[in-house]
Amino acid sequence: MAPSPENILNLDIQVPNQTRYLRLVGNIAQLVAKEIEAVAGDRDALAYHLNLVLTEAVTNAIQYGSGSHAEGKIRIFLSYENSDLCVRVYDHGAGFDLESVSAPDDAALSERGRGLFFIRSLMDTVEYRKTECGNVLEMKKRVA
């Protein structure tokens, strides 16, 4: 199908870099997922997954990404266009090499390291790069 303007949603959100706002951000993502027309599969599953992915990415931005440019805020960008979901979470920390982060070792029972695992498992593509607005973790998923 050709892109139609009816299918375009954009959200640009800024919240304080505090974990108490994770719920707000996650729940907004959940509402968006529930409103998406095209979802062929389980709409509630997508809602949970998007909530989780945003929660994990924003948690990382709060924990590792609050450098001097942070001004105490986290910026999140969420868009849906023609069946493509795109989520971006910005941070102002030192950055990291996404490719070098491997899946958690099942045997080790580590208490950490499952955030990016969830993100990679639930989204189609994940990228991390430096931009003029800070580092950005970009996560995409086709939901048609």
Partner: protein, 110 residues
């Protein structure tokens, strides 16, 4: 975070009264569990039936309890996982690590 702690049938039950278990409250849960073990707790059940959402830090807090119990040869079980919450254990293969009961009643007798 809202947690109700009770003694039932010789076990300690922690009922989480939160819809979300995420990085905002998982640190506190971890502390509460670890304190219970320090105080001599032998059999802990975490009742998750009100929890609709869990993230990786929530799983981490529960894993910390599990490892703590293993070190002390104490019991540590989970009960009442909602389907979505359960699927997060499955995705991370942690359902094989934890002792998981459908509900609190079975956890108490099991």
């Amino acid at each position: 975070m809202k947690i109700v702690t009770e003694r039932r049938g010789g076990k300690t039950v922690l009922s989480l009264k939160e819809e979300r278990l995420d990085a905002h409250n998982s640190g506190e849960l971890k502390e509460r569990i670890s304190k219970l073990f320090e105080e001599g707790g032998r059999d802990i059940i975490v009742d998750l039936h009100e929890v609709e959402f869990i993230d990786s830090s929530g799983l981490g807090a529960l894993l910390s309890g599990h490892k703590n119990a293993a070190q002390r040869s104490a019991g540590f079980a989970l009960a009442g996982l909602q389907p979505r919450v359960k699927s997060m254990f499955e995705l991370t293969r942690l359902q094989r690590v934890f002792e998981i009961y459908p509900d609190l009643c079975e956890a108490l007798t099991g």
